[in-house]
């Protein structure tokens, strides 16, 4: 029996540049930054107070009572999943063949910290009984699974900033392995809070370009000085190809393969040799039955950190060789900021849109391209992708040395 193929039949997102996929995608093509100065009172007392808040707050699209039982990360998951499910045509599927795989890098961290404040100020009796379901990292997946009554399995892989991509890869495997016909999958993050922001700042991981929020996230620019934290999430509906065809579903693209490796190098720093990244790309191509010649677009992890961007670029050059010359590389974190566990998922949504529209989104804020970067970065304006059968890759890496590469192709 030939391998079960997996296609994308629905998309959903809520990001710092749009409350849904359509608005996020058009803002991305227009080169719009979603990074702003936080106006909350707590933001005045922390070293870095620029971030990418979602453009459309959940309160604008969600009932108050539902919101108060959901962590913000869970709210993002519900909002993006509802959009994706509707986009997929609200498919009728046996519940035993429906699964959910949604990741988060940190989980319900704002709930945890807010309830700790309650404990200290008012006492244990006043700690919300909803705290545990709200703070658990599998909460976003669990809530979406509950709403859809999914019975094929609800999962949450956690690998820091690679979590969203890892979730999508896991979902693809569930369908390939015949555990399910449809999986709602992706990643979310809601960590704009004084503690996680102070903690990332303590690592010197965040950009301190406080006087220029929109210009702070500048992957590949010679003056990049760290990433900008973002929030939100992206969701894809993955479906077995024949199942999608049989119900006449709109098919965006095929998710054709994944490559997973680990660096074994350092808890937070990237391997400067980029061996794990290179190998993950090779595995993804092999798994997808693609060669470097097929790849025309790549959404890079490129978070705007001094070490990470060049290490990744070097690994891409090595992995793709001369074929890197025809790969339009986009670093969309220049506009969304870094959504941690949501990043790989939001960027997968963007890749699917790029294949659909045959348009690679721009990378903004590159005033002086770092001379160490020898890949073809799409700058300032979107770039048309070629006609015919084309494929694209999504790079996602996480603290801990996790490398995940996903391969998508037109169908």
């Amino acid at each position: 029996m030939s391998r079960r193929r997996v296609v994308v039949t629905g998309l959903g997102a809520t990001t710092p540049i749009g409350g849904d996929v359509a608005s996020s995608w058009s803002a991305l093509l227009a080169g719009t930054s979603g990074v702003r100065t936080l106006t909350e009172e707590w933001a005045k007392d922390i070293p870095v107070s620029i971030a990418g808040r979602v453009l459309v707050d959940p309160s604008e699209v969600m009932e108050r009572v539902e919101m108060r039982r959901l962590d913000r990360s869970e709210q993002f998951a519900m909002i993006a999943s509802r959009e994706a499910w509707k986009d997929a045509g609200s498919p009728e599927v046996e519940l035993e063949r429906l699964g959910v795989v949604i990741a988060s890098g940190i989980g319900g961290v704002t709930t945890l910290l807010d309830q700790y404040d309650v404990l200290k100020e008012k006492g244990a009796r006043f700690v919300s009984p909803h705290t545990v379901p709200m703070l658990m990292p599998n909460g976003p997946a669990a809530n979406v699974g509950l709403e859809l009554k999914a019975r094929a399995g609800v999962h949450t892989p956690v690998s820091a900033c690679a979590s969203g991509a890892e979730a999508i890869g896991y979902a693809m495997e569930m369908i390939r392995n015949n555990r399910a016909d449809i999986i709602v999958t992706g990643g979310v993050e809601a960590a704009l809070h004084a503690l996680p922001m102070s903690a990332f700042a303590a690592m010197k991981a965040l950009s301190t370009r406080m006087d220029d929020p929109a210009g702070a996230s500048r992957p590949y620019d010679v003056d990049r000085d760290g990433f900008v934290l973002g929030e939100g999430g992206g969701i894809l509906v993955l479906e077995e190809y024949e199942h999608a065809k049989a119900r006449g579903a709109k098919i965006y693209a095929e998710i054709a393969g994944q490559g997973l490796t680990s660096d074994g190098y350092h808890i937070a720093a990237p391997d400067p040799e980029g061996n794990g990244v290179r190998q993950a790309i090779a595995f993804a191509l092999s798994d997808a039955g693609l060669t470097t010649r097929d790849i025309v677009h790549l959404n890079a992890h490129a978070t705007s950190t001094p070490a990470g961007d060049v290490a990744e670029a070097n690994a891409l050059r090595t992995a793709l060789g001369k074929d890197a010359d025809h790969v339009a590389v986009s670093a969309t974190k220049s506009m969304t900021g870094h959504l941690l566990g949501g990043a790989g998922a939001v960027e997968s949504v963007f890749i699917v849109k790029a294949l659909q529209d045959r348009m690679a989104p721009p990378t903004i804020n590159i005033h002086n391209l770092d001379p160490a970067v020898t890949i073809d970065v799409v700058r300032d304006k979107p770039r048309a992708l070629p006609a015919g059968d084309i494929a694209a890759l999504n790079d996602s890496f996480g603290f801990g040395g996790h490398n995940v590469v996903l391969a998508f192709r037109t169908l």
Binding site: E63, R64, V65, F126, S128, P133
Partner: protein, 82 residues
């Protein structure tokens, strides 16, 4: 001084509206928290804590399971305040 049944019912209505999103006007003494008002076991804890704070009474954990309806809760609180 004992609270009146009327005052406690009004307070419970507000709390349940806040916790479960049920309009206060549709909340009556005979409504069952779980079946009629979408107050599950977790949300019931919220209702109890909010009621204790509001009415200055103690509702022991082993009594909570006895409070099936709004009327059960109202009567318990009125009695406890006496």
């Amino acid at each position: 001084m004992a609270l009146t049944q009327e005052a406690v019912l009004a307070g419970i209505k507000e709390i349940v509206e806040e916790v479960a999103g049920i309009p206060a006007a549709s909340i009556e003494m005979n409504k069952n928290f779980t079946d009629d008002l979408d107050v599950d076991s977790l949300s019931m804890v919220e209702v109890v804590v909010a009621a204790e704070e509001r009415f200055g009474v103690k509702i022991p954990d082993d009594q909570v399971s006895e409070l099936a309806t709004v009327g059960d809760a109202v009567n318990f609180i009125v009695k406890a305040s006496a």
